[in-house]
């Protein structure tokens, strides 16, 4: 069976599910951020697979993926700076102990 849209979408779905598992189960906020990065990459695979295998006439999907990568990189820069700040203020990056806003 030749590789088509379905294969790429299934691969992206599995990658997204792995990221979802990490997001829900990891303790360190850095590990949570890494899981979010995996999920972002899964979405970008979808953009490019749809651009490659469906009936389109230009590269809009790839362009959207470029913007998505830009947003993802901005997110990771701010997220890691926040994690560093949290460690400075609270001495921990464990998401269970970061509950200052709990009523």
């Amino acid at each position: 069976m030749t590789v088509g849209l379905t294969h790429c979408l299934l691969l992206a779905a599995v990658l997204f599910a792995i990221g979802l598992y990490g997001l829900l189960s990891k303790k360190s906020i850095i590990a949570v951020l890494m899981s979010i990065e995996l999920m972002l990459n899964a979405v970008n695979i979808n953009f490019i697979a749809f651009n490659r295998f469906t009936n389109v006439s230009d590269l809009t999907g790839q362009l959207m993926a470029i913007f998505s990568i830009a947003v993802g990189v901005a997110e990771v820069a701010v997220g890691l700076a926040l994690a560093y700040r949290m460690f400075h203020e609270h001495g921990t990056v464990n998401v269970d102990e970061l509950n200052n806003m709990k009523g």
Partner: protein
């Protein structure tokens, strides 16, 4: 024969991506996690090139497997970590996370396989110049907004990392 080879390459790339992604979430040591994340991003970049998106592949290698990975390793080294045990709620939490993730994969997988789609395709002859042309004509506004977003993220990250009174 070329068809079989073409499929084989895809499955090899998929194996790299899935195995290293599983490593990222299973690994207890965060430095190992970050390095496996780099391997996963390299796999995704290879998939982009496989799908005839050469420019995106190059961008993936430079931004994700270069920039983001180094940033993550630096953050891991700057921050002292406690024991990487289960989160509050004990092992039940991990089991519930597995249940949610596999239910998600199952539902999406069923939708994808049920989806009818006519095999068609679009391959650009000159990937980079077509993207550049679109980016500077039709999509110039999102392009400028992305530039502003990156600048503000950069300044925000610097201010956050420096902290009160020091900036």
């Amino acid at each position: 024969m070329t068809d079989i080879f073409y499929s084989l390459v895809f499955y090899l790339i998929a194996l790299v991506i899935i195995a290293s992604a599983l490593g990222v979430v299973m690994e207890k040591n965060l430095v190992h996690s970050a390095l496996l994340m780099t391997a996963c991003f390299i796999g995704v970049g290879m998939l982009y090139i496989y799908l005839d998106a050469e420019f995106l592949g190059a961008a993936q290698f430079m931004l994700y497997s270069g920039g983001v990975a180094i940033l993550a390793v630096m953050a891991v080294m700057l921050i002292k970590h406690g024991d990487e045990g289960p989160r509050d709620g004990g092992n039940g939490r991990a089991l519930r996370a597995i249940a949610v993730a596999s239910a998600f994969a199952l539902v999406i997988g069923m939708i994808i396989t049920a989806l009818p789609y006519a095999p068609a395709g679009y391959i650009s002859q000159d990937n980079v110049s077509e993207l550049a042309e679109m980016m500077l004509t039709e999509y110039v506004l999102p392009f400028e907004i992305a530039a502003i977003l990156l600048l503000s993220a950069l300044i925000g990250a610097i201010i956050l990392a420096k902290g009160d009174g020091e900036a």
